[in-house]
């Protein structure tokens, strides 16, 4: 069992990971106004999770659950992205139609479905990258032939 690092590391990690999440969320939300977007922000958010994971360590039993949760978040993120794309089709129009009002440029709530898509992509990317990381780093040694 991996008990993680010292209390100092844990405290610092907790403080910093909050900032990382905030930064990642900012990048995701402002994807249509500034550089960045769902992919970059999602990877940043997953970086925060990875920091916490490394600092705190975890019991082996919990890793399975963590991977499972990441997998669920990933499924839901992509599914909602798909649903956003489908709305146009279900409404009798084109696949991937930007149905929401465009709003005023330079405002946070503008550009129709773009911020929404960014959000879902962000969730998917954060979950999937974190999932890959735990799956790789907690791999048990199997049989050697």
């Amino acid at each position: 069992m991996n008990r993680g690092m010292t209390i100092i590391v844990k405290t610092v990690a907790r403080l910093i990971s909050g900032l990382i999440f905030l930064f990642g969320f900012y990048i995701i939300c402002h994807g249509h106004l500034t550089p960045g977007g769902g992919f970059a922000g999602g990877v940043v958010v997953s970086g925060g999770f990875i920091l916490l994971f490394l600092a705190y360590g975890s019991e082996e039993a919990k890793n399975e659950i963590k991977i499972w949760r990441a997998s669920i978040c990933e499924s839901l993120g992509t599914f909602f992205f798909w649903l956003t794309a489908m709305i146009g089709l279900l409404g009798g129009s084109f696949f991937f139609l930007n149905i929401l009002p465009k709003g005023k440029p330079f405002h946070l709530l503008s550009a129709g479905i773009i911020p929404l898509c960014n959000l879902f992509i962000g969730i998917e990317v954060a979950a999937s990258v974190f999932g890959i990381f735990i799956a790789l780093s907690t791999l048990k040694r199997g049989d050697k032939s």
Binding site: I27, G31, H32, L33, T34, P35, G36, G37, F39, A40, V43, V44, S46, G47, I50, I67, S71, E74, S75, T78, F81, W82, A85, F95, F96, N98, K102, G103, K104, P105, F106, S110, A111, G112, I113, I114, C117, N118, I121, E124, V125, S128, V129, G131, I132, F133, A135, L136, S137, L139, K140, G142
Partner: protein
Amino acid sequence: MVTQLYLLIGLMILGSIIALELKDLLSAVISLGIVGFSLTLAFLILQAPDLAIVQIVVETLSLVILIAAILKTTREDTNQGLNVKEFSIWAAGILCALFLIFANQSIGLMSPFGFPNTRMAQNYLTLGVEKTGAVNIVAAIILDFRGYDTLGEATVLFTSVMGVLATLRLVGRKK
């Protein structure tokens, strides 16, 4: 400006040669980091901040993944020998040289560096903000004009996570 780009590309070439020739895998991965981060800087110089921000986080993450894999296994490249016979390297080298000469001749037919062919891009630049409401034109392209591509891209990531989880299963076949 152009000089900086040349320097960065030179650094990338150097970094990749070092990454391929080092005996210690961990150092090789770090050298790969040199290539990736130089690429980030090159993107910044090329006025592509969107790419720079994605490249820097993705580079960090792929380094983390590679390092996690190496720490799980071994960091020594036990055999520096070649995988193929020597003459096939010569053959490949000649082919590559031919390719470079051929490419060099063809490059003359492309629009030269610094003057892109904006046949399709012109529409995006002039109509992008008006039609989509997104100020960041790259975001307008990836999520609206070519949103279908981005759905495919999200699918690729989803697929590879499924693939990673599938290949890392402890037991593949029921006994």
